[in-house]
Symmetry: C2
Subunit: 395 residues, 2 copies
DNA sequence: CTCCGTTATTTCTGTCGTAGAAATAAGTCA
DNA sequence: TGACTTATTTCTACGACAGAAATAACGGAG
């Protein structure tokens, strides 16, 4: 009756049920290449623990013993995801499938590490309280599975993170080698896992997003800048350069505006919110917000229309490069700037089609309209994933 | 003493020794995550069969029991690789590491399947004879391992191949659904494996190329067209679109010439041999061959220089897109058009650097100067890989 | 020259994860 | 009600693995 960490097959089973549940043992066996006997053996500890539940699936007209599909108990634990920027911490409370239950944010009053830790801890406590979840929670393998405890906190940040423990580089905060996970765990008393923000968001899309059935897809985020993530062979691609934002400065339009780095018509210059607002603002002779830009474009205002059309063509071209070079057939658009899709999505698709062999598989484009909270939700996904990785069940 | 197919660990061991040998069991254990006991158990059948050999590595000054590195017997079998185009079949005879031992080619006298099969069979027989290897050979698990027999034939083709058995689409030959592997095996009496030509070449670079230590890299081929292959997480990326040549028409220079499909400044228009020759030919007012173009450019001829510089910038830009979007840090250039690198490689590297974050990992560029025979060698690599996949050893 | 220390490899043995086969279960349909 | 189908469980054997100990082959110090 000792608790042991999950073997490879058990871990894959847990992930498969989390992502595709409810699902029968027979289907799981087919997907995982395991025998019926193994499925029974491997699922029993999860069922005994209460992490898996069986649902009754009414399938009318099918012969044979009815399947007893397995699912995860989504409210077993709550998780908090925090997206940290240079100005604020944005948080979301979620269940085991990263479904947002509450959200909140707090501004930072400076970049001093201890002050930031204070703000984050306060935000976590607020979110936990909102969801009726106690701090000082336990992993998935101890205590009641009734959503009354936090399973963990995920925190994502623009920059480089090492081993999910240390922020090695965070340009917006001016940080180097900050052991943020340890500091937060000391304050909160629950596990904390860090990740680069684009990698975190990509992880969320891999496990919980509309492209989760694809074993290869790309993620493009549009916001203050342009971010880019990639999943190949069912694994998020990360390298030592993750955090530099290599997708943020692709040449897309040689007649476009300049970005801060002096690149004419690169992805950030063409797509980022500040750049789009600035271009339209010049034409209007006044500052203009992003929502207004999109409204003006939707209403046919010439200057707004011109800028968003060029942005749409640039986005389509970027998706063409992505699909043709990474050979993915699904792309997820996320971030607070995806409102652009409403006014320029058709233009983007036309540009993509122009750069793509007509015989090639069509590229699915999924738009995650959740806006900025997707970043925090990505952080929650990191916490969920880490929680599963730490899980130990009776042998 | 029954013969069984290799388990996963044994197969990985064979591949690791083939790619990185000579290598000690201790190092193999570290690379494969296996215990010393497992290394001994798994390597014994290979040693008994004579496929592995032990080398004595003189390491002066090291303490402890000297290592007995394992290597493959490269001359255990010969392999033939055939690259089939619309006009000819090009062949190469290799050893177990795809090292070319002989090469030959034969023109096709039409696209009739039976006639093409005749030409290929003749070419294989010629190459086998050149290398003193008998047809009607055996797999790696039967007969003497002395290079006196062919282990198999690989054949690569531009287009789509299914299960390494059927050419489902070959535009240059006008073929659809041709069971070429069966037809050739009936004629030759040895295993034949088919593959898309870019996938085959990518496989060869993965197992035997200078980038083989990277678990992710891209391959760009320059020739009559432009081809593109990708390895991610140590696996060649293939999709149903493999064969369409999605890397062949990337927009790279909006002031470039047109390709046959009407794309201005796409990769084929900028880099392919026929396009470069045509551009220089227009300036010279006469037809000009590729070798002459490169010579003129090297000598500073203005028109040739201009065309190859533009091509270099386009290549650099393409490599920038590849590295930034696939996150690889190695790119292999191959094909009969890589002579371009001699005259425009510096220009290409400068263009790549301009599109790449200066803090990002430098991208290694490897140039495979073997020319057209790389295609045939790629086909041989497919045969070698398939031969290993079919291997059965005593339990 | 002998002994000690180090590293590599082999041998022995037990453990663990797996699947095949049979049994059991729960439905539909005639 | 019985036959058939499909799902799941139980029982049992097998194979792959690693831990530990033994063996091997060196270099270096005394």
């Amino acid at each position: 009756m000792t608790q042991v960490e999950l073997g490879d097959s058990a871990r894959e089973l847990a992930r498969e049920v989390l992502i595709h549940g409810p699902i029968s043992r027979a289907d799981l066996g087919r997907r995982l290449g395991l025998s019926p006997a193994s499925l029974t053996r491997l699922s029993k500890p999860f069922l005994d623990r209460g992490l898996f539940v069986e649902t009754a699936e009414a399938v009318q007209g099918a012969t044979g013993r009815p399947a007893r599909p397995l699912d995860v108990r989504v409210d077993a634990r709550r998780f908090v995801g925090i997206k940290l920027t240079g100005e604020a911490a944005y948080g979301v409370l979620t269940d085991l499938r990263a479904t947002a239950l509450a959200q909140a944010s707090r501004e930072l009053d400076g970049h001093d590490v201890e002050r930031v830790v204070d703000v984050i801890a306060g935000l976590v406590a607020e979110l936990a309280d909102d969801g009726g979840a106690a701090l000082g929670g336990a992993g998935l393998d101890g205590g009641a599975l009734d959503g009354s405890a936090l399973g963990g906190v995920g925190l994502s940040i623009g920059g480089n993170v090492t081993d999910q423990r240390v922020v090695t580089r965070a340009p917006f905060l001016g940080w180097r080698d900050v052991p943020l996970a340890d500091l937060l765990e000391a304050r909160l008393g629950i596990p904390v896992d860090l990740e680069n923000d684009v990698t975190a968001l990509t992880t969320a899309e891999q496990w919980f997003g509309p492209a989760r059935a694809h074993d290869a897809f790309a993620v493009v985020t549009v916001g203050a800048g342009v971010g880019y993530g990639l999943v190949m062979h069912d694994r998020v691609v990360t390298t030592p350069d993750t955090g530099l934002g290599l997708g943020g400065h692709l040449p897309l339009d040689q007649n476009g505006p300049l970005c801060l780095d002096g690149h004419r018509g690169c992805s950030t210059a063409m797509l980022a919110i500040p750049s789009i607002c600035a271009q339209v603002g010049i034409a209007l002779g006044r500052e203009v917000g992003y929502d207004e830009v999109l409204e003006l474009a939707a209403a046919g205002h010439p200057a707004a229309r011109s800028v968003t059309d060029a942005a749409g063509r640039a986005l389509g071209r970027m998706m063409g490069y992505i699909a043709n070079l990474t050979m993915v057939d699904a792309i997820v658009l996320s971030g607070e700037g995806v409102g652009l899709w409403e006014v320029a999505g058709d233009t983007a698709l036309a540009a993509l089609a122009a750069d793509r062999d007509p015989e090639a598989t069509p590229v699915e484009v999924h738009v995650d309209a959740a806006g900025f909270s997707s970043w925090a939700r990505g952080a929650a996904a990191v916490a969920i994933q880490a929680s599963l990785a730490r899980l130990r069940l009776p042998a």
